[in-house]
């Protein structure tokens, strides 16, 4: 089924998507020309239009899903080289790789480490980004422009090049091989984007709310914490999603800064399956699926908020 539709996905997608604008609108415009008095002709669509629309979206969804499904499928093949002949997996699919990863490796301690680091990054990152975003959104203090510019600037610096100096700094602060060190490094990379995002979100919350809070005797911190933070939940959810994913999936820093195998995060532990003399691709695939699951869960929890949260952020900044 998948193999039957995926080929069309390939050639339809490139040509189809940019053209959707033109394929879509004419059907909508036709009734408009015939009956200009109709209030919402845009919602009207012939059966052909609807079929095309669903077709394009199904195709796009297949392309989006295929690599994810594929790795899940490969993870079922028990042999190390099964990925080379995915067709053979059908006959002998089993969960052996999963039980091996869960039972015979340090998966659970890596998992715990990843939860601590990603959770810590999310909490620290979102709180710091929220207070920064709020300050920039509401207070016209001298230097706020320079601050936003600096935040954008930190996004530009290729992080790969910062690793060496960061390593020396963490070493001198005694933060190597510690959760806090990694959390701070990750916060440094996620906060700038989250602060931009949240600044945009705070901009959409009416200033009158802050003023009302002040009149009731709240301090600026109190207004921020008790009134604005609860209102900004969609924005916070997106920022949390972004921070969590960044920390959960990061490889380069984690492998450089976490030295003892007891402190490995999942992303680092994963690499131990494939070394120079050992190619356990099947275990790697299973572990990869297990790593993707919590990320998918977080995603499921926040996906309702994604559109509103990102919109406000991007639309206003």
């Amino acid at each position: 089924m998948t193999t039957a539709t995926a080929p069309q996905a390939g050639d339809h997608h490139e040509a189809g998507t940019p053209m959707t604008v033109t394929t879509e609108r004419p059907t909508a415009a036709a009734p408009a020309a015939a009956r200009p008095a109709r209030v919402r002709p845009r919602g009207e669509r012939g059966p052909l239009g609807t079929a095309l629309l669903h077709g394009a979206l199904v195709l796009a969804s297949l392309i989006a899903l295929f690599p994810v499904v594929y790795i899940g499928f490969v993870s079922l093949g028990p042999g190390e080289m099964d990925y080379l002949h995915p067709g053979d997996i059908f006959g002998k699919a089993s969960l052996a790789n999963y039980s091996k990863v869960l039972g015979d490796t340090d998966f659970f301690s890596w998992f715990g480490n990843s939860v601590i680091v990603a959770g810590g990054t999310t909490v620290v990152g979102v709180l710091v980004a929220a207070s920064t975003g709020y300050a920039v959104s509401r207070m016209r203090f001298p230097g706020h422009r320079q601050l936003m510019w600096t935040l954008l600037l930190t996004q530009m610096f290729p992080i790969a090049v910062l690793i060496v100096p960061m390593y020396t700094i963490l070493a001198s602060l005694q933060l190597l091989d510690s959760y806090l060190g990694l959390i701070l490094v990750y916060s440094g990379t996620t906060v700038p984007y989250c602060a931009w995002l949240l600044k945009g979100y705070f901009d959409t919350i009416p200033v009158e709310i802050d003023e009302a809070g002040r009149v009731d005797g709240l301090s600026p911190f109190g207004t921020f914490w008790r009134l604005i933070m609860p209102l900004a939940r969609p924005g916070l959810a997106v920022a949390a999603f972004y921070s969590f994913l960044t920390a959960w999936a990061e490889v380069a820093f984690a492998s450089t800064f976490m030295l003892s195998s007891g402190k490995y995060t999942l992303a680092v532990g994963l690499q131990t399956f494939v070394s120079e003399h050992d190619h356990q691709w099947n275990l790697m695939a299973a572990a990869a699926v297990l790593i993707a699951l919590p990320a998918a869960l977080v995603f499921y929890l926040v996906q309702r908020h994604l559109v509103t949260g990102l919109t406000a952020g991007a639309a206003k900044s």
Partner: protein, 333 residues
């Protein structure tokens, strides 16, 4: 960074009355803005220590011949001091017009620019197309939306790993191409196919962010504008050109800027897809990483020089981009 904030403090208070002394101005601004400064202090400290300071040190390294043999280090209890020399701008000269600079820098530079332009165009156009589709009234919209954002939720190294298996000789992609009777390129070993593979994977990774941001932007365009346009007899294309695109202006300018910055510095996709191979498909970031970490002795000075050049390219681009935005904004009224 702290310097920038401090420096601006002096200028900030506009003298309505005779200008007070510097110390007093500081005190006034402190009592007026201390809340703001307290709220941004954590970010300034974290970024100052973990980005600002390394940046300064990196810039300093570019002026020396530092590598892993002559930088001070700790071996057991013995501390070996720094022994690298100050060489001025030799590193920059060497990278930009030294012998073999085309193979070492300019070829990667051209590819990086092409890579960024192609990827961002694909991200934006596919993202916009999908956002327009998702913005239609139709059944199952929420499900489609969720499925289409999924690539974003899966950690990059997992998806790149999956793509590697799919793109391998005899992998799923070539299997499909083979059954269709199309040529089966060696995605992971031929230079041109490597580049195409990198672009395909990065497009797949980056579209969901664009799509969701643009979808949000579409939803914030008031429906009355379309009604008005229809009343004026605007065609579908005209509506798209004169209502949708201007309505998306703010969102577009932000996501395109971020997209360019992120794609330009996209490390994970190329690094994980090809590892140490594929010298032709390396963009400047992965090339700089290789100079600094992927060889012995590690050439810190060259790697940092690449870093500073990358940063300057992006800063120049951003300031031109913003100026261009401001100009078109004025032109459009």
């Amino acid at each position: 960074m702290a310097v920038a904030v401090q420096g601006a403090t002096g200028k900030g208070s506009r003298g309505r009355e005779p200008r007070p002394g510097f110390v007093q101005r500081l005190r006034i601004s402190y009592s007026k803005y201390w809340y703001a400064y307290a709220m941004i202090a954590p970010v300034v400290i974290v970024l100052g220590v973990l980005v600002g300071y390394p940046l300064v040190q990196g810039v300093y390294y570019t002026l020396t011949d530092a590598n892993s043999l002559n930088v001070g280090r700790q071996i057991g209890v013995n501390h070996i001091p720094d022994s690298f020399r100050f060489v001025g701008f030799d590193n920059y000269a060497d990278v930009l017009w030294g012998p073999g600079s085309y193979e070492r820098f300019w070829s990667h530079f051209v590819w990086t620019v092409a890579w960024t332009a192609i990827c961002v165009c694909l991200h934006y156009s596919i993202g916009l197309g999908l956002a327009l589709l998702l913005n239609q009234k139709l059944r199952g919209r929420g499900v489609y939306r969720m499925l289409l954002i999924l690539p974003w939720a899966v950690p990059t190294f997992v998806t790149v790993f999956s793509w590697r298996l799919m793109l391998a000789d005899g992998g799923a992609i070539n299997g499909i191409l083979g059954t269709l009777g199309l040529p089966e390129p060696a995605w992971l070993s031929e230079p041109l196919a490597q580049k195409a593979a990198a672009i395909i994977v990065n497009t797949w990774v980056g579209v969901p962010f664009m799509m969701i941001s643009l979808l949000g932007g579409l939803q914030s365009i008031p429906g009355e504008l379309y009604e008005a346009a229809e009343m004026d007899g605007a065609s579908a294309w005209q509506q798209f050109r004169y209502v949708t695109l201007p309505g998306l202006r703010n969102v577009s300018s932000t996501v395109v800027l971020l997209g360019v910055i992120w794609t330009f510095n996209q490390f994970a996709v190329i690094f994980l897809l090809f590892g140490a191979g594929a010298p032709d498909a390396q963009i400047l970031v992965t090339w700089a990483y290789r100079l600094g970490f992927g060889q012995m002795p590690r050439d810190y000075a060259q790697s940092a020089t690449y870093g500073v050049l990358l940063l300057s390219i992006l800063i120049v681009f951003t300031s031109f981009y913003r100026r261009w935005l401001a100009r078109t904004e004025q032109a459009n009224g």
